[in-house]
Symmetry: C2
Subunit: 353 residues, 2 copies
Amino acid sequence: MAPHDDLPIVSPRKSRAVDVAREAGVSTATVSRSFNEPDKVLPKVRERVMEAARKVGWLPHAAGSALARQRTLLVGTIIPTLRSGIFANFVAGLQERLGEEGITLLVSVSGNDPSKALAEARVMLSRGAEALSLVGQAYPEELFDLLSARSVPHVITHEFCGDGKHPSVGLDNREAFVTVTQHLLALGHRKFGLIMPDPKNNNRVAERIGGVLETLSDHGIAINAEHQITGEWSPQMGYDAAVGILNRMPPTAIICGNDQIAIGVLAAARARGFHVPGDLSVTGFDDDPVSEHIFPSLTSARTDNTLMGSLAAECLLDQLAGRQAKSQKLTLLFAERQSTSRPAKTDLNLDPQ
Amino acid sequence: MAPHDDLPIVSPRKSRAVDVAREAGVSTATVSRSFNEPDKVLPKVRERVMEAARKVGWLPHAAGSALARQRTLLVGTIIPTLRSGIFANFVAGLQERLGEEGITLLVSVSGNDPSKALAEARVMLSRGAEALSLVGQAYPEELFDLLSARSVPHVITHEFCGDGKHPSVGLDNREAFVTVTQHLLALGHRKFGLIMPDPKNNNRVAERIGGVLETLSDHGIAINAEHQITGEWSPQMGYDAAVGILNRMPPTAIICGNDQIAIGVLAAARARGFHVPGDLSVTGFDDDPVSEHIFPSLTSARTDNTLMGSLAAECLLDQLAGRQAKSQKLTLLFAERQSTSRPAKTDLNLDPQ
DNA sequence: TTGTAGGCGTTATCAG
DNA sequence: CTGATAACGCCTACAA
């Protein structure tokens, strides 16, 4: 007999329920019950099982469990990006609430590409996701076909859909930017610039832009084409866009799609010698935690994204439990700060240079 | 015979490989091969299988597959929070790289609580995660026992561990803050404030603080206890801390644990009539995208967190493939901006009020 | 209260 | 190249 040939040399086969059962002198049924329905097992026996499980280092294997139970306790979310506080907070809220119910969240990123989103949805369903949370509803019809064919509960977020076609949790994007626009109109502004993220494949941004333009149009105001810029957003993009806008016939107010863009705009204004808010009012969106502390502090508006996440979780949990899904329209929190004021020269738009 | 009783009323049983097989007139083995080893199936047959799969709306079920294949294609990451660009970018980089290999990432959040982290690790192993990515190494020994007992590949991130106890991908946190401190020393500062996140359960922050204090100590400088503040960070926390620090015997430079804190400090300086950098130099960390565009722009330093994510993924993939894990020390990108300069009055610290 | 045994959906092996 | 069949690990009737 070779020395040590009764010792496992490498990677001893992972233990299974049957190993625990043997160790504890019970059946696998009792092992399973000890973990899943503790009350149905004699305390003394349960103790023995737990001890045995610890000893052999056993953890129940979710794949086997999922198969037998026909339940994965998995929920998926598809978001455009994680690189934005909006979605990071949303996912955090979603995960926190689902975690309380023992559900694991699958996160995937689509980059606003509808076909990527469809592919990710397939992966999630294949992994057994029992429900899906989707940002907006701009997806191939096939995605929703997939969901309804399997009757997979889902919720649309970051957008409140009044039509009730899908359960949704979010704000009214149009209304939000109507509010921002009206704030500036009320201050007396009549000449506007608009810098927004790319509305392509992003209905939420399209709605926001629509809200601004329509509100202005109601007041007989149109935005000069050169004063209306969209693109991949960043502070730098905001800076560049603003430099262009301020170059000739500058407006007295620039509405920005988010705070990052707006901070770039503030920098551009400074560089070009425009005083904010004296010469130029600027609004952001999303109310980044820093926006209150920069100079000038930034007028912005936001919705509670963590709350949106937990409400979306609640909505999915309701559906999974066979309850009615509740759609929720989130309120807008508007913060007026230093970056907006009455325009210095109400009707004239003189180049301050 | 009741009407329609041949029509499925609700939730027709989800289709399985056998349904596809029947529809295509082949065996389940061929269905499986068509999806997993297409080359081993006659193109014509494969076509038929794919068409049948589409027709019955079949997606392979990962749980069954995992059981049979003994492979879940799941990897887990445990991070302190998603509410920080650092970790959001890291996770994005990790996910992007793993996704290329068909691996799904499980994300969970521990809030810097070691026991929560241990619990999350258990969940992930139970779900069949084949490898784990962990932030730092401040975890109960039990966690690492768990991993080594099952020989689960893992990587430590956001910290470079020279000891080689675990594969790691990250920056040298001590060195990073030595760099920042030396920048200020070189400018002529001799009196410092320090505002950092809570170092409790966070060895990375502890290292950073150590780097600052040690470097100063090497120059015979100590930080007044009242000028040294830690806590749950936010711009507001930075503001409050700075107000306290500037109140009496203010330093000429304040080193901040991150840009969010630093932006609060800039606001406090402004409120108290301190000119930055004339009266006070301020440094941040992480180099938030807005830090370059605010006023005054913020001297900061960072590492590429997306890169760290993809390198961590690479490290895990190497181990999963039986290759040697490569630890990587990331470089620090230092950006000197407007918020730091020589102190106005080199040796005197006069209250500017 | 506990044990027995069949089945969850897929894949790997081996024979044809 | 394709098919039959035995796992994979667990749970849950049902029986004892």
